[in-house]
Symmetry: C2
Subunit: 375 residues, 2 copies
């Protein structure tokens, strides 16, 4: 990164800090205010959780287990611990180390290859990087122990396989004796597209991970859900991995708060995103994936350099107090891809409002970029 | 566990909850009050930590690194994650999976054998279960990659090797090319006995783990400290293990609070414990290990059944509001062993006060037990 870009990033961070409005996720709460809120909520409990036991933590696990229609659930500090651990259990049961994953899986891109280095599993990628795994991508036969399906697939704009295709994949897995694991970091977003309940979706999987902070606005943490036996084994592995803590109290309280405040909004955000995307996509020069959206998130491609884009976002935030985008998730020679996660923040305004401001912030720049390219 | 004992345990838990005074650790703070306190402290920071970065978390790591005189430090959710991870790094560097540990090491007794099952290391125990590892216990030569020394050794009442013996062990390890790792869950207690600073003690080790909640009263969490290179590698493994979280903010704030409130008290507690132990040991029928104490903790053996002892503690707590002991850590046919960790709670009263109340609570029972045995 050039010194110039560093400076832009500093300006971006400062502008984001000062901003009064954002298109991203939920309205920001200061750490101190959040802790005040949790202190208030904590008065409902006479004692903290201790090593994974006690009403504080068990109520949350029970609540998420019920949402997912699973017999049992276990709180984890992170999906990065919960997911390879789940796959290890499936692997041990089947005496087979191979795991099938999408090329953009979090386990392959963002976990320092812990799946292999720490958990001793062997990843095999299936499907194309630009679209979710389809039934047609699955081999005739396999010796793999599990199939990981990320619903929705974050790195490709929150795409989902069709419900029919998903059912066919699960049927394939059952026939092969392969465990189905859902990477449901953003599973909360799936019900409206599938017109199915969370439980009906989760029923397809042997194990499901959901995140408690991304869409929900908690502090950190995750839930792994499955059968009672599966979770009993997960508890042992969690101890081995150092994830069974003396107390998780603030994380638990924040997750409960997040479910109260944001779970419903995630569903509403899907419908809002259906309105928002066509509006934003009408701005000449950018393109949105997927369009129409399939979840309450999407990706936007700008044929601009990283510096041009971040400067535009920063300038606009400095002038208006409105954050239009987060930093690009992907930068290539042809341009930048940004992720937009829609939540209560965007929904405070109309889709027209965001269209207007995106046009103001990026329209001239995109027009200039098009002209330059045309010359 | 018999149904009868279950009932006693419930009564014990309730009495503990209601109690107004305790000999154990630091005065209890309600979760809600603790979160209020952390909310207050959070106003010092303009932003939360994000994936292990930012002033909030780096200031704590820096503070503990300085206390331990180490170039670098990394926050972990638990010692159960930090320690095998540290040993794995030493092991990879030396291409040797064997690790030397005391028979009562936390890694052997309380971690579901994660050291072996998850981290792929092979434990070899050295020394006797009833005393710390001594230089004389170490083999002439070894192919092990690391030597784990728990200072003080919790399961044996907080015993320590002499400073001279410790130096000899470290010298042996250096000569053998074996890494020295300190399990310093309670390392904060060591300076007065050794008449050495924390940094002078930690200097003997290649890697040091310290806990942020046990003696310090944080919520959960640990620090691993070592060379800059070692910690850079630990950061990669921490990601693999799922310990690099979106935010640890409440844990970090609580650890800072704990250092402010309790670090000095741990040193004072050593001197207090020196006064307390002879007083308590004068009660006929119980015995204290070690005597004299070497840290601000000790073990007490009661020749009573678990039920007799817990009922006595519960009865006394119900009558007086004073908690005299926590549940036994070890129960054998000949009796029960309890751990006493001395902190600001005990120090609110004189050693004579605790002697009086222990005599009241246990004296008659111990006398009866002696008489029964004598018959």
């Amino acid at each position: 990164m050039s010194r110039g870009l560093d400076h832009v990033l500093q300006r971006f961070a400062a502008a984001q800090q000062q901003a009064t409005q954002s298109i991203l996720r939920h309205p920001r709460i200061e750490l101190s205010d959040q802790l005040e809120q949790l202190a208030q909520r904590a008065t409902r409990y006479t004692e903290s959780d201790v090593y994974g036991r006690g009403p504080l933590i068990e109520e949350l696990e029970q609540r998420v287990a019920e949402l997912l229609g699973k017999p049992a659930a276990l709180f984890f500090p992170s999906g990065t611990m919960a997911q390879p651990l789940a796959l290890r259990i499936h692997s041990d049961q089947r005496q087979q180390r191979e795991v099938l994953l999408h090329p953009t899986s979090h386990l392959l891109l963002h976990e320092q290859n812990g799946l292999q280095e720490l958990w001793g599993l062997i990843p095999t990628t299936i499907g194309e990087a630009s679209q979710p795994i389809r039934k047609a991508d699955l081999p005739q036969s396999t010796a793999a122990s599990s199939l990981v399906l990320e619903l929705p697939a974050r790195e490709i704009g929150g795409q989902l396989p069709s419900w029919q295709d998903l059912l066919a994949q699960v049927q394939w897995a059952r026939a092969q004796g392969v465990a189905v694991h859902f990477d449901g970091a953003r599973l909360w977003q799936c019900p409206p597209y599938y017109q199915q309940s969370l439980a009906a979706i989760a029923e397809l999987a042997d194990s499901v991970y959901v995140s408690l902070y991304k869409d929900l606005g908690g502090i950190a943490g995750a839930i792994l859900a499955g059968s009672a036996d599966f979770i009993a084994t997960a508890r042992i592995w969690q101890r081995r991995a150092g994830g069974n803590l003396y107390s998780y109290a603030p994380f638990i309280l924040a997750a409960q708060q997040g479910l109260d405040d944001n779970l419903q909004a995630v569903e509403q955000a899907y419908h809002y995103t259906q309105q928002l995307v066509p509006k934003l996509a009408s701005i000449e020069g950018l393109s949105i994936t997927p369009n129409p959206p399939q979840a309450s998130m999407f990706h936007v491609f700008f044929p601009l350099t990283q510096r041009e884009l971040i400067e535009a976002v920063t300038d606009y935030a400095e002038t208006t107090g409105i954050v239009m985008l987060s930093l690009p998730r992907q930068v290539t020679e042809s341009g930048c891809t940004c992720e937009v996660s829609v939540g209560r923040a965007a929904m405070q305004q109309t889709p027209e409002y965001w269209h207007y401001h995106w046009q103001q912030a990026f329209g001239p720049l995109l027009a200039r970029a098009k002209k330059t390219k045309g010359e």
